[in-house]
Assembly symmetry: C2
Homo-oligomer: 335 residues x 2
Amino acid sequence: MAFNDLLLKALNKEKTERPPVWLMRQAGRYMPEYMEVRKKVSFLELCKTPELACAVTLQPVDILGADAAILFSDILIPIEPIGVNLSFNPAPVISNPVRTMEDVNRLNHFNPESDAPFVYKTIDLLVKKLNVPLIGFSGAPFTLACYMTEGAGSKSFLEIRKMMLNTPDVFHSLMKKLTEDTIKYLQNQVKHGCAAIQMFDTWAGILPPAEYKEMVFPYVKEISESISAPFIYFAKDGSAYFDTIKELNCAGIGIDWKISLKEANVMLGSKFSLQGNLDPAILFSNKASIKKYAETAINEGKLCPGHIFNLGHGIMPATPVENVKYLIDVVKGLA
Amino acid sequence: MAFNDLLLKALNKEKTERPPVWLMRQAGRYMPEYMEVRKKVSFLELCKTPELACAVTLQPVDILGADAAILFSDILIPIEPIGVNLSFNPAPVISNPVRTMEDVNRLNHFNPESDAPFVYKTIDLLVKKLNVPLIGFSGAPFTLACYMTEGAGSKSFLEIRKMMLNTPDVFHSLMKKLTEDTIKYLQNQVKHGCAAIQMFDTWAGILPPAEYKEMVFPYVKEISESISAPFIYFAKDGSAYFDTIKELNCAGIGIDWKISLKEANVMLGSKFSLQGNLDPAILFSNKASIKKYAETAINEGKLCPGHIFNLGHGIMPATPVENVKYLIDVVKGLA
């Protein structure tokens, strides 16, 4: 079977017959085949066992027909070897949050190959088996720092806000360290065969826009310019920052469902391939509704330099799998 | 002491020497005087005991010098008498969520005076004592419906999304009922002496903009046009809807900290008094930082038809009270 390079064409702004489609968190708890694997191992064990991580990465490609695979892992995986005590319950918990300069200085040097060998082993296995592009990924430094300072998930992530306001030197030391590590982590993913990279900035949206621009965006830009594969930046709840984000020179921008693709494209200067942006809740409705919403996104995507069909955020755990399959079929013109 | 009508002037777009200042959740857990009262009663008891609700409403005016008082209550208070089993632990929990047409039809008729007599009694007590305007408030129907369908707080409020997508008739019946109740609830607050009304749409921001416009905004507009006092609408995370929200003809719009007042004013057609928008996290920093951020908001507020200084969301529980006092002094030109 010929290699399906739709994703790469769309990221390269080449005309495609239809948009490529993959879905954030497409390998996950909504799939019975995934749950079967998860019965045997914890989430962290799954991430760290290449054969199993490879198997679940392949599931949405083989079973649902996604046009791209995304490495099965978690954004917090690379912070464990630098000295962060990480567990999942199922939300992430960090028993030794990073809040002072001493905490930052205590973080270990990051050696991607020796610190996260399972990640690269998984990629090695996948590239041999896939006939669609493999997307590598990382968390963005700010989002990683949100968890590292808070020690858990949060609505307000007050600890990082306090650090930014009261000890900006500690904040910048941490961001610099995470930026360096992220570049190494991602460069190695590309070296092992990832054809594109997505960086998730899940919590960027908690900031006043001026602070995002001054204190966070420079690190995003540095990483985006250090990666040799097509790069997609996704800042959830980030539309307020589009005037800043449009300064990136990367291939794609992920768009959440809280703004239309049409408007996002205008705000971003019509220079990126846009990836998104179906509300994941739509997958809890019926076929007629899924089709209607998907077609809106497809039609608005045609106004953009490139369009990669995706959700505006990850698939939710209780999503009916037949609706996910139907959505993919709609984008492919099969339903 | 002369009545301080700065808030009303700012809502009326009259020139004022400085912006009036009050802070969302200004009566709350960060104040030792509030905690003293709360030692004796539960949160719900406090809301329902006029003498105590009156006392805590007055605290930020008397102790901190706020230019307006806001009725101490909770947005969920008026849904209890219509048949919703409500408790706080401290987050709201509803043991009988509303999900079907039968559930909606089972809701009681709402008689504000007999169903929430303590609210109006609190207002009666307050208007005799205050020499600043008293702001009444309610939740917006969509935000109330989010809690009523989910039965609790949530990040995604999937139940209301499913209702909107799969049984829109049930959704609209619920919204219609809540809109009627809210109008009655608020009209009576004005009758009892509230000088302005704020409606909180805390969860409106979870929707795709087209759905907000079609399915939620008409109810907001109806309420805003049914209230005879100056009306402030606050949709948290609502900047993506400004193109719709600017169709309101009310006095003020609340602005969160995720957009600048300057940009919000342009997007809203420069026709409203804007209320906001300091990031509540700034109150965890130092005086120099608080002053810098406050002055930015004050200066951007001068570009708006009117400006009411406030936070972009409620004061957080652990906020240092001396920083709140300092912020109010800065806005008043006293620090």
